[in-house]
């Protein structure tokens, strides 16, 4: 009994250590971080956080990130809903191949798409806007959302659709008033996965923006700035980046396992 506790405790410590270290660093001054090893901040300071919330280059980076993440999530889910409904309810020519092909889109590394996207978005004037990143991320998120939603939708018997038609509902009114609430857990999970991917994705976000729409992942990872090393500041930015994800996870925690199984539990 005790042995099991030890293993579990060690594992959790192992998991939490980097996050603790980040938190620890964020309350230290850069000098202390560079000065030597210490498990607690000796000169506890909130300066790093103060800088982030007052310096526009920092807080605008958060606003940029949140903007494209929200656009992307809304877009991905909105487009995936009718697509997933078609895959779950109708048989059409090549449906199974198309369905698999969608997911295979995710198997290509994002780096492959950087060059065409940069060139394309520069040509149409989308470069360095939140829309550029949001649209680029839909390439990965729509297939994922379709797969997750299709799983949840297929768990709803098609007799529910038929009953609604028999009761007199038109298709749009059935879809919005009955079907969407029925699969609300699935929509939550799909939105969560889109949010998370878009929030943590760095390569496309970094390369499709330069100044105006620079996201937090790009700002945060530039280790040196004009004023030298600012490790405390970067650590504080890291902590603030974890928080939105943690909040979203809290809301969908009961459905996440089902989401990882793409709704097929």
């Amino acid at each position: 009994m005790r042995k099991r506790h030890i293993v579990l405790t060690l594992y959790i410590v192992f998991l939490m250590l980097p996050i603790y270290w980040l938190l620890n660093m964020s309350f230290k001054t850069t000098n202390e971080i560079l000065g030597g090893f210490s498990a607690f901040p000796r000169d506890f300071t909130l300066d790093s956080y103060r800088t982030i919330f007052t310096d526009p280059t920092w807080y605008n980076a958060y606003i940029n990130s949140i903007t494209y993440v929200v656009i992307n999530t809304v877009l991905s889910v909105a487009i995936a809903l009718p697509a997933a409904y078609a895959f779950s309810r109708y048989r059409f020519l090549g449906d199974k191949h198309l369905f698999f092909w969608l997911l295979s889109n995710r198997m290509a590394p994002a780096a492959v798409f950087v060059l065409p996207f940069v060139n394309l978005y520069s040509a149409v004037g989308l470069f360095d806007t939140p829309w550029a990143v949001a649209l680029a991320h839909t390439l990965f998120n729509i297939p994922l959302a379709v797969w997750i939603l299709e799983g949840f939708m297929s768990g709803v018997p098609k007799e529910l659709d038929e009953t609604a038609y028999v009761d007199g509902y038109s298709f749009p009114s059935f879809f919005v008033r009955i079907f969407l609430p029925t699969i609300s857990a699935g929509i939550g999970v799909a939105a969560f996965f889109c949010f998370m991917f878009s929030w943590v994705e760095m390569l496309l976000a970094k390369n499709l923006t330069s100044v105006a729409a620079k996201p937090i992942v790009a700002v945060m990872t530039k280790t040196a700035s004009t004023s030298g090393y600012e490790l405390g500041l970067l650590a504080a930015a890291g902590v603030l980046t974890i928080i939105p994800g943690a909040i979203v996870i809290y809301f969908v925690r009961n459905y996440i396992a089902k989401g990882f199984a793409l709704g097929r539990v």
Partner: protein, 354 residues
Amino acid sequence: MALELIEIAKRVGADTHIHPTSLVLPQGSFNVLLGTTLSGKTTLMQIMAGIQQPTSGQIRFNGRDVTHVAVQKRNVSMVYQQFINYPNFTVYDNIASPLKVAAMSKAEIDRRVMAAADLLRLRPMLKRRPSELSGGQQQRTAIARAIVKDSDLILLDEPLANLDYKLREELRDELPRLFAGRNAIVVYATTEPVEALLFGGGTATLHEGRVTQFGPTSSVYREPKDLVSAQVFSDPPINMTPVEKRGSQLQLLGGKVWPAGSSARSLSDGRYILGIRPHHVTPLPPEAPAGELEGRVLVTELSGSESVIHLDVGGATWVSQSHGIHPFEVGAHARLHVDIDRGLFFAANGERVS
């Protein structure tokens, strides 16, 4: 006033789901579709409702062609085997939903929902969600939603199949009462011949996408048109054996000879298939002339008041169903009696001749 199916057929790709079928279901009638799983009951009902379109043929309601009228405009209700309710609505809103779609006044909706809820004893559950109800209550909710809107056509697709025994009996007793006095055409699909017999009304026997017979339930049962109808409408399965009629005698396989019985009197000599329902094979001899069966007991099923005995007679299995407890030992030698007067005779092509 009636629902007419005129030469309705349904093909999907190369498969024929429904062979051309014509049926007339009069208003206020209770009709049973009886057939095994995959016999086409659900497809036929969905075509009646307008959820599926027939490949060919016409559907008329009160003389009007409704073949291509959308299901929303047909004024039908449907109850499925699975308990289908709107999970995000309360029981009240579930029952009220067809009325709300029809934009009925609030007071009228309330009056009707309450009446339906009282009929189905759902009054205490009105504020709950379907997931908080037992299976029986969920199905009651679905049935309440089906009867609340005065449909012209109410379709029940094996509504009791997923309920446990006790609830099934209970709801089965209530069902005819729910539809009595309504002017709706009720269609009830089931795999169980017993349910068809209990509900009376009309019965259509279905087999592999074909309506083999349609008529008043008791006459379909007593006077099956052909072998398939008799097989569909018999539980336990009907016994069948080839016989040759010679004068007043029936020659069976293996050289056994039975008296021809009253039902075979008008038949000319020749080869037939004899069908005997299990309850006409009994351990005690009937008063009328009887045939005898001797063989080895394979299975004995004893319920509270009746016995079902499976007997192996020279390689063929015969089933007997009789009142009272007849505890035959499995493997023992037994003798059963066949009430030959009740025998059904079929020609080689399956058509019933007597």
